[in-house]
């Protein structure tokens, strides 16, 4: 899902925050890629059954159950080849800089069931990195074993194991940043966010055990460790954005979800805690993410669908090493980062969608770690219009899909400021938050 721009930006993240921000914003242009036609062929379902807008990534309650069941549901017509592909052409028009139109991404999905109890999702992504050059990397992985139709106290119970490479990607509600692919962009961020510099996303491997009890109560616990740098390199990642060495890492998730057919709501909490050495030979920081998420969906007769989600993640940091800035100023040994995301999506006829997001990234003041103002706060607004003409029961085809999307990114605050966000001295042209704005048009074809 992450565009080549963001990967390049990840490499540059700390020294050049402007490049990081622009690239991270453009990441969102390539997020809606979860409607996998291989799943439609496997289940006989339409894309719209699992994704309100027929292309994703937002899941309907039915899509959540499909994920919880380990991607193993089937129409019973035998083995289907679990392979799909996707191509994306993107026109990018940043507020400052040159507009471009390129074939930005080509994806290969290995996605589907192997047995009644084993299924998965693996994405191999080729991102444009320059003139006719592409970098191939292993993107999201979620391999599952699931035991279904168990009983506990007379109630339904589903148990599963997920082996995945991105904390939160495996979540069924799919509101957490690594699953929704919507996250605030700033000079810092939480571990659970894919937009954070040196984020664990795709660069770790972990296993979680989950349970769904009485169809409504969801619990999950697991652990992760970062991939060796050499492995990251082999998988297509630049080691400059290594998430560091992670120890004593725990992932915890608990949620209540209620599917009332015409409506759905969920309320959940999430935690991710780790000791991180970044760089790997350095001292260890203790980082703990504590978050909660609320979602609501009005589905009705599927003509008018409204989806709301709010995610609030607070990361508490206890730095392991003393850090000194200019003039010998000592940085605080503790700090916090606070990510908030509010998204509302309206979908008409499972075809036309309007999605509006407000993304806030704030943190404790730290003049050493967050130059030049010591303030990491950033605010981004994002508006997306898209059209996905296929993927419904009555579509010309239900096993391929097209999505045309227009997205506007508006940055109203960066480094805690609207104007001169990088503190340019007099005589140097300042950069304002609005200079980071961008507009994209994209055409995605999944088959």
């Amino acid at each position: 899902m992450v565009s080549p721009l963001i990967r390049r930006a990840i490499r540059w993240a700390r020294p050049t925050p402007l490049a990081w921000v622009v690239a991270a914003l453009l990441m969102f242009a390539s997020t809606a890629a979860q409607a996998i036609p291989a799943y439609a062929r496997q289940t006989g379902s339409a894309c719209a059954d699992c994704h309100a807008g027929s292309y994703g990534p937002q899941l309907t309650p039915y899509g959540m159950r499909f994920k919880l069941n380990g991607y193993t549901d089937t129409d019973g017509k035998g083995f289907k080849v679990p392979v799909s592909g996707q191509l994306r052409e993107t026109y990018t028009n940043p507020a400052t800089g040159k507009s471009t139109t390129n074939l930005t991404e080509g994806d290969l999905y290995l996605a589907g069931r192997l047995t009644d109890q084993v299924g998965g999702f693996v994405k191999v992504e080729a991102d444009r990195t320059g003139h006719d050059t592409y970098n191939t990397r292993l993107s999201n992985v979620d391999l599952r074993f699931v035991a279904r139709e168990l009983k506990l106290g007379g109630k339904d119970l589903t148990l599963g194991v997920s082996v995945n490479n991105s904390p939160g990607f495996q979540d069924p509600i799919a509101a957490l940043p690594n699953a929704s692919f919507i996250a605030p962009v700033g000079v810092t961020g939480s571990l659970l966010s894919l937009a954070t510099p040196n984020a664990p996303s795709n660069r770790v491997i972990g296993a979680t055990m989950y349970a769904l009890y009485d169809r409504n109560w969801y619990g999950e616990v697991g652990t992760y460790r970062s991939l060796p740098k050499s492995t990251q390199d082999h998988l297509g990642y630049n080691v400059a954005s290594d998430p560091g060495s992670l120890h004593d890492t725990g992932y915890f998730r608990f949620a209540y979800m209620k599917d009332m057919k015409k409506q759905f709501f969920s309320a959940g909490v999430v935690a991710l805690t780790t000791h991180r050495s970044l760089p790997r030979s350095g001292p260890s920081d203790h980082l703990t993410d504590l978050g909660y998420d609320l979602t609501y969906q009005y589905l009705g007769n599927r003509e008018h669908i409204l989806q709301l989600s709010y995610v609030n993640i607070l990361e508490q940091r206890h730095y392991g090493a003393a850090l000194f800035g200019a003039g010998g100023v000592a940085a605080p040994d503790r700090g916090n980062v606070h990510d908030q995301t509010l998204t509302a999506t309206y979908t008409f006829h499972q075809t036309y969608s309007l999605s509006v997001s407000r993304l806030l990234s704030t943190g404790s003041r730290d003049s050493v770690r967050y130059p030049p103002f010591g303030n990491p706060d950033a605010t981004t607004n994002m508006v997306t219009l898209f059209w996905a003409p296929f993927g419904k029961d009555d579509s010309y085809t239900t096993i391929a899909n097209l999505k045309l999307a227009a997205t506007w990114y508006r940055i109203t605050r960066f480094n805690g400021r609207e104007d001169n966000i990088f503190g340019a001295p007099p005589g140097v042209r300042p950069t304002h938050a609005g200079d980071l704005n961008a507009f994209t048009l994209s055409a995605s074809l999944a088959f």
């Binding site: 289940t43 006989g44 129409d75 017509k77 589905l299 007769n301 029961d393």
Partner: protein, 142 residues
């Protein structure tokens, strides 16, 4: 024919036959009106019920099986009769016909109660009007 009553006149016999006819017609109408096929008056509302209750697992397009079999022509169809759908053993052995009455009975309770061993996961539709509307809609899908 022996009778404890005195023989009726010809006009009384006509009135009696008429009365019997009215009663019989009334009974027939009552039975007919009470049957789900007629109670279900709003097929367009039933289409909405279908979309929210059934459409994730069933399509109404002929030959389009999802997790559940196509419901094209479901009313009047023998159970387990779509050749290229893999039914549960429980439904294969049910050997019933999906009349409107049978569907009303089946859908008004959990599927696993109505047909233990079925693959179908459905808790039942307890709203009587919605069920009637749904059956009316399904009756038109052919």
């Amino acid at each position: 024919m022996l009778s404890p009553f005195p023989p009726a006149s010809r006009s009384e016999a006509r009135r009696s036959r008429l009365l019997h006819g009215v009663v019989l017609a009334g009974l027939l109408f009552g039975w007919y009106a009470a049957s789900p096929a007629v109670r279900a008056g709003d097929a367009s509302a039933g289409a909405d019920v279908f979309k929210s209750e059934c459409a994730e697992c069933h399509a109404v397009k002929e030959g389009r099986n999802k997790k559940g079999p196509s419901l094209f022509g479901i009313v009047g169809r023998p159970s387990g009769s779509i050749a290229d759908y893999s039914y549960s053993d429980a439904l294969k052995q049910a050997n019933w016909t999906w009349t409107a009455d049978k569907l009303h009975w089946y859908l008004s309770q959990p599927a696993k109660t109505a047909n233990p061993g079925t693959k179908m996961k459905y808790d039942g539709l307890t709203d009587a009007k919605q069920l009637d509307d749904l059956l009316s809609y399904l009756g038109n899908v052919h």
